[in-house]
């Protein structure tokens, strides 16, 4: 039996929730949590250890986390490395990516993880490791783990691997020469594609060129001492009763709140409703996420023109890119109506 080691976060490692997101890495010879599920789905490979680390710790103290984890791995024998599945959890996806990329660089083993296509970890790490296309939520645990397991077993049995799109992972941009059967000469394939294109029919390119989504740089503010600055946040800072009933995750609603009479956000009157981070610090002082006090101070010091009467808030965790874009476009309309010159956007 080939051997594998599995990395998971503090939540799936049964350590705790957001309150334990600072959990330092631990190394277990008895499988913990969902390592057991993944292990049960593998037939050629046995997971021998679980590594657990807090999502905040791995992202905020990456060097230390990697140093410790790589140090442990150097003492072990393993043929595969797994991480996650991370679903839509952004920090978890990023954490899986960071660890997996480091393992791929240090050890000559296949490294396999899984996350939803909207997880920021995909764009950051898909070129370095196998990231399987996963569901949005933990309800997809078994399906996502199964895809990872089936692929790993295939590699274990030294079977021929199909292209990324067939196997089910995000393309790494690696090109292999392959000979399709029946073999059709290149000029015939090219002509066939050209005819389809001319007729407006769809065709499959053999060489997809990714389109970069470059945002043109907005011009710098000319005279900041006269500028009206608006605060926007995806950190979920709202008035205490959450009057617009913004969702704590997967938000589709945003709110607009008047702060023109305030010099700072008073604790207790404003809270965070964001389910994706530990709320203690933000609830004790909401200015730690929405820095109204600092901006109002800069107005007094005549360093900036004014703070916009309204700030805009929603919740970023689990929120789809589509909804985030829609909400942002609606907020942009307000920013224009309210003659805002620039925005300070805080994300958690």
């Amino acid at each position: 039996m080939l051997k594998a080691i599995h990395y998971i976060n503090q939540f799936f490692g049964q350590i705790g929730g957001e309150d334990k997101a600072d959990y330092r890495p631990s190394f277990h010879t008895e499988l913990v949590g969902c390592s057991n599920i993944l292990n049960s789905l593998l037939s050629e490979i046995e997971i021998t250890h679980t590594i657990i680390c807090g999502d905040n710790y791995v992202n905020e103290h990456t060097e230390e986390a990697l140093s410790e984890i790589i140090g442990w791995l150097e003492k072990e024998e393993f043929d595969f490395f797994f991480a996650g599945p991370a679903f839509m959890a952004g920090r978890y996806g990023s954490g899986c990516g960071l660890i997996c990329k480091a393992v791929a660089n240090h050890f000559n083993v296949p490294v396999i993880t899984s996350m939803n296509e909207e997880n920021p970890g995909v764009e950051l790490f898909k070129k370095d490791i196998y990231i399987f296309k996963g569901g949005r939520k933990a309800t997809f645990m078994k399906q996502d783990a199964e895809k990872m397991a089936l692929f790993a077993d295939k590699i274990a049995r030294k079977e021929v691997l199909a292209p990324a799109v067939e196997e089910g992972y995000f393309g790494r941009g690696i090109r292999h020469q392959y000979f399709p059967k029946p073999s059709i000469p290149a000029h015939d394939r090219l002509f066939s594609m050209l005819m389809k294109k001319l007729k407006g029919e769809s065709f499959q390119t053999e060489l997809p060129i990714p389109e970069p989504d470059i945002v043109p740089i907005a011009s710098a503010v000319k005279d900041i001492t006269k500028a009206r600055i608006a605060l926007v946040t995806s950190g979920g800072i709202v008035p205490k009763e959450n009057p617009d009933r913004i969702q704590s995750a997967s938000a589709t609603i945003w709110g607009e709140y008047n702060v023109s009479q305030l010099d700072r956000l008073p604790a207790g009157d404003f809270v965070t409703i964001h389910a994706g981070y530990d709320s203690e610090a933000a609830n004790a002082d909401p200015n730690r996420v929405l820095p109204l006090d600092a901006l109002k101070y800069l107005v007094k010091e005549e360093k900036i023109g004014s703070v916009n009467d309204y700030y805009f808030a929603t919740v970023g965790t689990g929120t789809t890119q589509k909804e985030a874009s829609r909400m942002a476009l609606e907020i942009v309309e307000k920013l224009k109506e309210q003659a805002v010159d620039a925005v300070v956007l805080v994300t958690t």
Partner: protein, 76 residues
């Protein structure tokens, strides 16, 4: 969200702890925040020191807004 604001031509600076993620998504002015649960806070400091700490990050953000950058920039 920052992407849509910037595409509309409004200069925007993102304050975040996870600058790599922000950079991969696309906004051009990014400032390193303090930590995930409190990007502009530091509960280990006394109140007035914490305010100075926050002010320093916000000042950096304001400078970023006035900076005529030529490419995506993370202000650390």
């Amino acid at each position: 969200m920052a992407k849509e604001i910037e595409k509309a031509g409004i200069p925007v600076v993102v304050i975040t702890n996870l600058t790599d993620i922000a950079a991969s998504i696309g906004p051009n002015r990014i400032v390193q925040g303090s930590s995930i649960p409190h990007p502009l806070g530091n509960p280990s400091l006394e109140k007035d020191q914490e305010f100075e700490f926050r002010l320093a990050i916000v000042k950096k953000a304001i400078l970023a807004l006035t900076d005529d950058i030529q490419k995506q920039t993370v202000f650390e």
